[in-house]
């Protein structure tokens, strides 16, 4: 067999997962002039863009504009999209091996890490990602319900997701009505009685993961006052020493902003954000089977031998009266059927994007990973671009070494026929463009960026199917 990558015999690549990493990988793959590549991007959901559509907060439309770059990639004639097609259900690894020279997994980190405390699963305690998926109109979450009748809520964690959830809880219905938040979520949040949100960080203000623009935004919400406790935002000796050493201006500024919150006089806005630091939940208490409170332990910071300041619990406890809890303490990848997994890190077992055989630790020819399922959930959207570039460089090197799969039916038509057979309701890029137009059109009338379809059957109906 001749080496694939020519007009007569293009290199056929399947990418599983149409989020940022899938699109960046496609972009890199299609930008090699010396080799003819055809990319099929496959997603479990009917719509593309992954977390840009279902993760990025609805009040952050500017961040969502990154999809313009993905649309350019999708316009390439050698690119196809198959939405509503699930790996492991409609297509197996064997199916892909019969039709593609290479398969690349970009399925992200789809599940929450647990805190591991008693009461974590009480009614009223939710993984923050479920709330995020729900308010963004993720088809798997439209029927979820969240108890927004509570007046006090706690959000555990200080990463992006924690900050997004906090903002959405504290925005007024009028603010949310200008976004592309799911209609049902807008209605539910209109009735929300949440007035006070505690944002809980286990370490101090200098170690908080949020960016300075994010924290400023929290401090300037139109309908909520932001505050912090003076004793928790004062830097401890270890943090001071670390800042003195590194002279990290961004962190210094962040600490100043947060200390500013603590110094503010009480405001008169209807809702309130209380940023808490150096506290960890140890137990949730219940009344009638529902969360009624959270026991916190106060932490101090201690340096590891590599210099990171980590939280160590003291014996000082505190009870916080909250009836609603969102847990945002980290995410993990989910194993894919027939693909080696690294349980230690919650990722596909890989070396620089090459999937490894668990027994030999040698690369499995033709299998690759990129994005969060390769390195874990970290970085901003754009971090996935260099990450995908690394994997694609290895894919190209392996093609040059003639180390690919040997598909028996490498034609683009053969796999399309198979997909049509297994999933007649698959969504093409053209279908998506039509859905996108309808969403944007519907939004225009209401002064919103778009009004999302949130159910697969509604999308199919809109396409006349």
């Amino acid at each position: 067999m001749t080496q694939p990558g020519t007009e007569a015999q293009p290199l056929r690549v399947a990418i599983i997962g149409a989020g940022p990493s899938g699109f960046y990988a496609a972009e890199h793959l299609l930008s090699h002039p010396e080799i003819v590549v055809e990319v099929d991007l496959i997603d479990r959901l009917p719509t593309p863009y992954g977390l840009v559509r279902y993760g990025v907060a609805p009040d952050h439309q500017k961040i969502k504009s990154v999809t313009a770059a993905y649309d350019k990639t999708a316009a390439n004639p050698r690119f196809r999209f198959f939405g509503n097609v699930e790996f492991g259900k409609h297509l197996t690894r064997e199916d892909l091996a019969a039709h593609y020279h290479q398969m690349l997994f970009t399925t992200g980190a789809q599940t929450d890490r647990r805190i591991g405390i008693p009461g974590e699963d009480l009614a009223g305690s939710y993984p923050a990602t479920e709330f995020v998926a729900w308010y963004n109109g993720h088809p798997d979450y439209v029927n979820y319900e969240f108890d927004l009748q509570q007046e006090a809520a706690a959000v555990v964690g200080v990463g992006n997701v924690a900050v997004d959830v906090t903002r959405v809880l504290l925005r007024s219905p009028e603010e949310l009505a200008r976004t592309d938040i799911a209609d049902y979520a807008l209605e539910a949040l209109r009735e929300s009685r949440v007035r006070e949100v505690f944002l809980l960080g286990r370490r101090g203000p200098a170690q908080a993961a949020f960016s300075n623009p994010e924290i400023r935004e929290l401090g300037n919400l139109p309908a909520a006052d932001a505050t912090a406790l003076a004793e928790e935002v004062e830097l401890d000796e270890a943090s001071k020493a670390a800042l003195d050493r590194t002279q990290d201006r961004t962190t210094m500024r962040k600490v100043e902003i947060i200390q500013g919150f603590a110094a503010r006089p009480p405001g008169g806005k209807p809702r309130k954000l209380v940023m808490r630091f150096l506290v960890s939940p140890v137990e949730l208490s219940a009344a009638d089977g529902h969360v009624a409170g959270m026991r916190l332990v106060h932490n101090i910071l201690q340096a590891t031998s590599a210099g990171t300041l980590v939280a160590k619990p003291t014996d000082r406890l505190e009870d916080l009266s909250v009836g609603l809890i969102f847990r945002a303490v980290g995410y993990r990848g989910v194993p894919l059927p027939g693909v080696p997994f690294n349980q230690d890190w919650g990722v596909i077992l890989n070396e620089k994007g090459r999937v490894l055989d668990p027994a030999t630790r040698e690369p499995v020819p033709g299998l690759y990973a990129a994005g969060w399922i390769k390195r874990g959930p970290t970085g901003v959207i754009g971090t996935n671009k260099p990450d995908a570039a690394e994997t694609v460089a290895n894919m190209m090197a392996d093609v040059a070494q003639a180390s690919t799969l040997a598909p028996t039916e490498p034609g683009a038509g053969a796999v399309e026929a198979l997909i049509r057979n297994r999933q007649p309701d698959h969504i093409s890029w053209q279908d998506w463009q039509r859905l996108n137009e309808i969403e944007v059109q519907r939004g225009k009338a209401a002064g919103r960026p778009r009004i999302k379809f949130t159910r697969g059957e509604d999308m199919l109906a809109a396409l006349g199917r």
Binding site: S65, G307, K352, N384
Partner: protein, 144 residues
């Protein structure tokens, strides 16, 4: 970004050597694997030291017959180790300040990986590139 994320894409390979092995054997391993250091582990796979190309070079100046010596004699015993939750910023700072090029990563005494200064540089570069790429998209907002 923390050490866990840096190790996740490294396949979990950690190349080790036993203290009673010879420097000749250790050098052969460094050359075959194309790496700069080996973690020295005891019979229970617990890290007890590290031996780097730099250690060998320093000894070679003093002792021309070092190839037959044991790893135990040359290894650095007071090893700075990392844990998966150590963040990139502090690891980068510590490795630069302490002039350490390899950081074995340990969980409950068990060796789970190693981070080299090259990994740190790459992780930092990817982080900066990613931020720049994201900012570029947001300021150009190119919908043409």
């Amino acid at each position: 970004m923390n050490i866990a994320h840096m190790l996740a894409r490294k396949g979990g390979h950690v190349f080790t050597v036993r203290p009673e092995q010879t420097i000749r054997e250790a050098l052969a391993e460094l050359a075959t694997r194309n790496i700069g250091a080996l973690v020295v582990v005891d019979e229970n796979d617990r890290p007890i030291g590290i031996i780097s190309e730099r250690d060998v070079v320093r000894w070679a100046v003093l002792d021309e017959h070092l190839f037959g010596r044991t790893v135990r004699e040359l290894m650095t015993k007071n090893v700075i180790v990392g844990s998966p939750e150590d963040d990139l910023k502090s690891v980068a700072h510590t490795m630069t300040e302490m002039r350490v090029r390899h950081l074995p990563v340990v969980v409950g005494g068990r060796l789970v990986g190693i981070v080299s200064i090259g990994d740190v540089v790459k992780a930092q570069r990817d982080e900066y590139e990613g931020e720049v790429a994201t900012l570029q998209i947001q300021i150009t907002d190119d919908r043409s």
